[in-house]
């Protein structure tokens, strides 16, 4: 099994805070996920996800606040719409849509954060290295 390379976009208010909580709680998870902190998950553009795949990422994780809890009220709904569309687009590009995942992790869910990362890392490892011909 490969050691997958994963880019993760965390929103500042929920998921990044949840990741910090995993740290202060000294929970452990695989080190394959490298974080990029954004203000809101809705800041993540399709272009960013595609650039990640193009530059060698095997998986992309986007973490936002739970529905109804978004710091910016509606940002995570925008993200959900975009990710749904983007997954369809990935299929057209011959990229398994499972390589892109959107998860809601709150600032209190340190444990859940680690579970998400573990599970996603395993899934991407199973899917193997992403070979992108032209993007």
């Amino acid at each position: 099994m490969i050691k997958p390379k994963i880019i993760a976009f965390y929103c500042k208010w929920c998921t990044s805070a949840g990741a910090d909580l995993a740290g202060t709680s000294r929970l452990t998870y695989p080190p394959n996920v490298i974080p990029v902190r954004v203000m809101c998950s809705s800041r993540v553009d399709a272009e960013h996800v595609l650039e990640a795949f193009k530059n060698g990422a095997d998986g992309v994780l986007i973490g936002g606040c739970h529905p109804g809890d978004c710091h910016y009220e509606t940002g995570n709904y925008q993200t959900l719409k975009r990710v749904t569309l983007l997954k369809k687009m990935l299929e057209d590009l011959n990229i398994d849509p499972r390589r892109l995942r959107l998860e809601w992790v709150s600032a209190a869910e340190g444990k859940r954060f680690t579970e998400v990362v573990k599970e996603f890392t395993e899934e991407i490892a199973k899917l193997g290295e992403l070979k992108v011909e032209k993007l």
Binding site: P35, V38, Y72
Partner: protein, 650 residues
């Protein structure tokens, strides 16, 4: 290229225990733009901060990356440190290699590898960081309060008592709102008028409050700190400078119309004051019903007025006020009984709503507080109260709980029993919700001391037979059908936002929920702010609530406004999403995704404009923009992509 210095913190063994600091330092040295790297045991300590300041000067750094703990902890600290050494604080970034690296991994090799990638991505970001200055905009230290019920009164008094001017706008001739119509208040049974009217008088006598009754907001422009509001003062047809409120005109006026304040159960004149304790206690002419205005003859009030205060020529006047903040306290009304055909609502005269019953209980009401039914003035010996009428009924009416009905219906039944001790009071209920201080005790008292009978179940039908109101219901506790022969029925109708408020909300572009109540900026953390900065929401305009909750909200909004007015400028984080006008086609996609109404299309220029004070920097617009014209400051697409590349580079 920027000259970047990277400072790697050991955090004792918190980072150094799992991350090989030496290897990080060696790797970082080769990153583009990095001219200096140093590690230290505790970077946040005084010597650590001194080290950073010294090296900024000696190495002529113009960008700094601190590889340490989460930015939540020390981003402010280090930005402060670098600005003391002359660097714009927005050129300092934190690489989180503790919470999101050293603390969550055990294998040093892997943790070190990850830490290097994290630092590399933050260096890539810092290379493209711009120097930014916080956005400042002046504040007009005056507030507008719309709605003169208890919530609006409380907010206005608090803001005024903090030393700021308030414009209080009320559409009715008097302030007081719904609370002025109440009899006694749960759970203490204080008389509503006794606790409300002194506050109304305080409003009138407060030098900082400009009271505009019989007035409506007709236009609003501008934004937080600087709103321009147009207010229509409807013609009162009475010169308040001259009028003393003696009331002779009211006495002599020959026209009688149903009195809205008493829910149509008494009559008022065409020239009238709303109720005896009205503030201001001066009359207005209701032109729709005035003989002179309708037929051109009469002018009796003018003849009897000893002060020449009647002014038939008075016209509506629109005035403009500048304010820095707006409080919406537009209140509620009851869902009309005529919506309840199965209960005879609107058909059967003795099927009334809760507010009408309040007037029957009120000592200043049409019956001077005696419970007499509207149809024939007889004292009803059996009264049925029905709760959740229109509320909690998503299929037919509204899905939400109106919150106050459980308590006021209990109060109604209790007060009825006090007035008519040999009478019977039945309450049909779905649930009894008594969350609130002293509320459960009050409910117990109604059952145990006053003998109010609670029946758990819905009423299916109310109709008239042999002069009695037949209430068909079902008792779900015994599993039996119940039929009560009543003399009067009181329906606890759903609470609805005031009619007319919707127009105002649209004008202000504040959002409402599916039921028409105002939406707060955050349901838990920003409960009295709207999504539009500078606009606050209090009382039932935001959702059904009781008097203590309305007062608390009003206090909260007033305190937030006082904080805002205590500064001469509004200071705003500069990491907003701007517009590159050369790239913007004015498509408006960003306008649609902005939750704060911070963006709008300038038709003349054909591009989008940003109100920087309103932008909260979520970046949703930047991702939505198809041309790359919308870019978030210091988190541009170029920066994000550059971070991604830095992370993935072999």
């Amino acid at each position: 290229m920027k000259r970047i210095g990277v400072f790697v913190c050991h955090c004792g063994i918190n980072i150094a225990g799992t991350v090989d600091i030496k290897r990080v330092v060696e790797a970082v040295k080769n990153f583009p733009g990095v001219v200096y790297v140093e590690d230290y045991k505790y970077m946040c300590s005084d010597p650590g901060q001194n080290l950073i300041r010294e090296k900024i000067k000696s190495e002529k750094l113009d960008g700094v990356v601190i590889a340490a703990c989460s930015p939540t902890l020390h981003e402010k600290t280090f930005r402060n440190t670098v600005s003391q050494a002359g660097i714009n604080p927005y050129n300092c970034e934190i690489a989180n290699i503790r919470e999101q690296c050293s603390w969550v991994h055990t294998n040093m090799e892997e943790a070190t590898e990850k830490a290097i990638r994290i630092v590399k991505s933050i260096v890539a970001k810092t290379l493209l960081d711009e120097s930014l200055v916080p956005i400042k905009s002046p504040v007009v230290k005056r507030a507008l309060v719309v709605g003169g019920g208890i919530a609006g009164i409380q907010a206005a008094l608090n803001i005024a008592n903090s030393g700021y001017e308030v414009v209080l706008v009320e559409k009715e001739p008097s302030i007081g709102g719904r609370m002025a119509q109440f009899s006694e208040t749960f759970p203490t049974l204080d008389c509503a008028q006794c606790i409300l009217t002194p506050k109304m008088v305080d409003v009138a006598s407060n030098e900082n409050i400009k009271l505009l009754t019989y007035s409506e907001v007709v236009d609003v422009s501008g934004s937080v700190g600087n709103f321009k509001v147009k207010i229509k003062k409807k013609a009162k047809s009475v010169d308040y400078e001259k009028c003393t409120g003696c009331g002779i005109c009211v006495e002599k006026c020959p026209v009688k119309v149903p009195n809205e304040f008493d829910r149509g159960m008494s009559e008022r004149k065409a020239i009238y004051t709303q109720f005896p304790q009205a503030v201001p206690n001066k009359p207005v002419i209701d032109r729709e019903n005035c003989t002179y205005f309708q037929k051109g003859k009469c002018r009796l009030c003018e003849r009897v007025c000893p002060f020449g205060a009647i002014d038939f020529e008075q016209e509506d006047e629109v005035i403009e006020e500048e304010v820095g903040a707006i409080v919406l306290a537009t209140g509620y009304e009851l869902y009309d009984v005529s919506n309840m055909g199965e209960y005879g609502g609107g058909e059967l005269e003795d099927v009334i709503d809760g507010l009408t019953f309040e007037r029957l209980l009120s000592s200043s009401g049409p019956t001077s507080g005696e419970v007499r039914r509207p149809s024939d003035g007889k004292v009803p010996k059996t009264v049925v109260f029905v709760k959740c009428v229109g509320s909690r009924d998503p299929e037919h009416h509204f899905p939400y709980c109106s919150k106050v009905c459980c308590m006021y219906t209990t109060k109604h039944a209790m007060l009825y029993k006090h007035r008519v001790p040999d009478g019977k009071a039945y309450i049909f209920y779905m649930d009894v919700r008594t969350a609130g201080k002293g509320y459960e005790e009050f409910y117990q008292r109604a059952q145990e001391e006053d003998g109010v009978i609670y029946l758990r179940g819905k009423v299916s039908k109310i109709y008239k037979s042999d002069g009695k109101l037949i209430v068909d219901g079902f008792d779900t506790l015994t599993g039996r059908k119940v039929q009560v022969e009543a003399d009067m029925v009181v329906l606890a109708m759903a609470i609805r936002p005031s009619s007319g408020a919707e127009k105002l909300f649209n004008l202000l572009k504040v959002s409402t929920d599916a039921n028409g109540f105002l939406t707060e900026a955050h349901p838990k953390l920003r409960p009295v702010e709207s999504l539009t900065a500078g606009i606050f929401l209090v009382g039932c305009a935001q959702g059904p609530k009781d008097i203590p909750d309305s007062v608390s909200q009003a206090n909260a909004a007033a305190s937030m406004i006082s904080v805002m007015f205590s500064q001469d400028y509004l200071i705003h984080e500069p990491i907003i999403t701007g517009v590159n006008e050369d790239l913007c086609s004015g498509c408006g996609i960003c306008v649609a995704v902005c939750p704060y109404d911070a963006r709008k299309i300038n038709r003349e220029k054909g591009t989008v404009e940003v109100n920087e004070i309103l932008c909260e920097a979520c970046g949703a617009c930047a991702a939505a923009c198809p041309s790359g014209a919308a870019q978030q400051k210091n988190l541009t697409d170029r920066q994000i992509i550059s971070m991604i590349k830095a992370i993935l580079e072999e």
